[in-house]
Symmetry: C2
Subunit: 374 residues, 2 copies
């Protein structure tokens, strides 16, 4: 997802042109098998009648929306199927900016680069709130930065790039801030299946019309390239302007994309129905083990880091090796490990580096770092 933004592209190319063997810890692409039912669903769809190859409803296949609504405990009218979490976030942020008073969007620093880019695309005023020393976004700090100008607050938990999970108190606090300033909280929960802390709390647990939850099957089913996500908007019966957000999103979605690719929607529906919790459990356990090995190596290397509580990223700071692009290149050339410089994500962790643990060679990378910093 990040691979097309300039610093990501630069590091990927530098790593691919390096002389030695380099372990890619740059991109956030799952490296494990998708659910078997997903492959079966796509095979079956390949033999469908021609009418099943035509426009699905713009808002998404009825059965997929119904399945999501039931699982998430919301009304089907609140669900819009999107081109991955990317479009879900775009619709929520664009609609919130339009419908709420004020022209400011608040996000955490370090920030997921797509939020940053989208804020610029939408012509909003950007306020980044630095995370605390544990990598968490503190709701009270957000409150200090918020004002009547605030239209949208966008957060990601479990988080990219910090790897932390916000607890229920934080999420409630953030909804409170949104309510206080008549703003919209966009809660991007795309890593919800990858919480190792037990703390993950969806914004859906809070009774308020002041948030939109976004999600996708990209990470949980290891299909970032298939582009099936969704947004859950406030119920249409919610007071104005919140109740109107879903219609606003449906219109924007229709006029931008018309509809979402039907082969992918159809296969995801089948996988959603037929895949048991053991599938998600297995990838979570595998990642947790990788994280343990990798953070052991960071300990051995004397690095400072935020222990991942969720997602599959680690941010770390090595002694006497700040996370500049020059040092990223040095680590590629001399240790054979490619990470991302911290300043690709903002200012607050600019001298850190980010490593994505979605490679079967994560343990080997840990050993290389161990030896390099020995």
């Amino acid at each position: 997802m990040d691979d097309d933004t300039p610093p990501f592209f630069y590091v990927m190319r530098y790593a691919s042109e390096a002389e030695g063997d380099v372990i890619d810890m740059v991109s956030g692409n799952p490296d494990w098998e998708p659910p078997e039912a997903l492959r079966e669903g796509l095979r079956e769809y390949a033999g469908a009648e021609p009418d099943e190859f035509q426009y699905p409803p713009s808002v998404g296949l009825d059965e997929l929306r119904e399945e999501i609504a039931q699982r998430r405990g919301v009304d089907i009218s609140q669900v819009v199927i999107t081109n991955g979490a990317g479009e879900a976030n775009h619709l929520a942020m664009a609609g919130g900016l339009e419908a709420m008073d004020g022209n400011e969007i608040i996000a955490a620093d370090p920030v997921y680069p797509y939020y940053d880019g989208r804020i610029s695309l939408l012509g909003a005023e950007k306020t980044l709130v630095a995370v605390d020393e544990n990598g968490h976004l503190d709701a009270e700090t957000v409150r200090e930065h918020a004002s009547e100008e605030t239209a949208v607050i966008v957060v990601n938990s479990p988080n990219n790039p910090m790897g932390v999970t916000y607890d229920g108190e934080t999420i409630e606090g953030l909804v409170d801030v949104a309510e206080e300033y008549d703003a919209l909280l966009v809660s991007d929960e795309v890593y919800d299946h990858f919480d190792y802390s037990g703390k993950f709390t969806s914004a859906l647990s809070v009774d308020s019309p002041n948030y939109v939850v976004t999600n996708a099957f990209s990470k949980s089913m290891a299909i970032t390239g298939w582009r099936v996500g969704y947004a859950i908007f406030p119920h249409p019966d919610s007071p104005s302007p919140y109740g109107g957000l879903v219609d606003r999103a449906r219109t924007r979605h229709m006029l931008t994309n018309v509809a979402i690719s039907r082969p992918a929607q159809t296969a995801v529906l089948r996988a959603l129905r037929e895949t048991g919790p053991e599938y998600y459990e297995a990838s979570r356990e595998m990642l947790e083990e990788r994280i343990d090995r990798f953070t052991d190596a960071l300990d051995a290397a004397g690095a400072e880091y935020t222990k991942p509580e969720g997602a599959f990223y680690v941010m770390a700071r090595f002694p006497e090796m700040p996370g500049t692009m020059a040092n990223i290149e040095k680590l590629i050339d001399e240790a054979g490990v490619a990470g991302m410089p911290g300043d690709a994500f903002g200012d607050s962790r600019a001298d850190w580096m980010r490593f994505a643990l979605v490679t079967p060679r994560a343990e080997e990378a840990a050993q290389r770092l161990d030896e390099y910093f020995e």
Copy 2:
């Protein structure tokens, strides 16, 4: 594609709730088989390695872009793969409006409803130019309406809803107007495989930086629900602001959609490579035959109509039965044929009706109309 906009939705529902059997001539969904290589491509992809399920390049799969660039005689840097022609038109219109001076978008009347909606979404000033008595858009009439305020002119040839094909002279004339007013012509050529007149001329034949060509595989491969389209922008080396349009579109595309669904892109690539001209020829011939039968029935019914030269729509006016919603309902109830009221497409053909010929029952519908108007 139109099925979600209010008047289309209303007619579809009215028809489905009618007592008798109704032939649907409302929606523009192809009713024939897709290329066999498309089904094979999807089946093969279902068994691919997990890394082929991850993010493709945001701008589209390299091989698909290369294949399109070669076929269309353009540089690969000009090609952006989009979520169908819908997103291609959105990117071209939004980018043109941003980059060109002025805030006006010109389109034909009758207008394809998505252009109309997009003009509103983008906050542009809308100018609809009525087609001539033959259903054609006259470049000189467009010139009379154009001004320094004009940023974008969007046209569709072969055309929905008129069923006409603009000739080379018209396309050149429209590019001329765009050049004269430093505007951008968006030439939507999604029906290019369905030209019965031999007159179809792509804007790509004109040497100018003042246009974007949009297209998709939705109609030509009978896969409107798969959402694979493309836009061809002016070469990046073109003078400013035209040379910058492709980068602008890539950024907007990335921040809106991240990337396009990879199962669909992969299968379309295979179908594009392996499907010979006889496939496209067969659907064109079948449609041409349907059109002949249908217009014979219109002749017998004493209707006025524009003889289709392309696409698969017919606009017609029956004697003493203007194309109001009430008469559309009457035709559903009394003749068992569902069309669309002309005013769903603007003012200039408001008392006409539009019929989509993408149903195997087109001939039966013709007979029903014959008998009804006897």
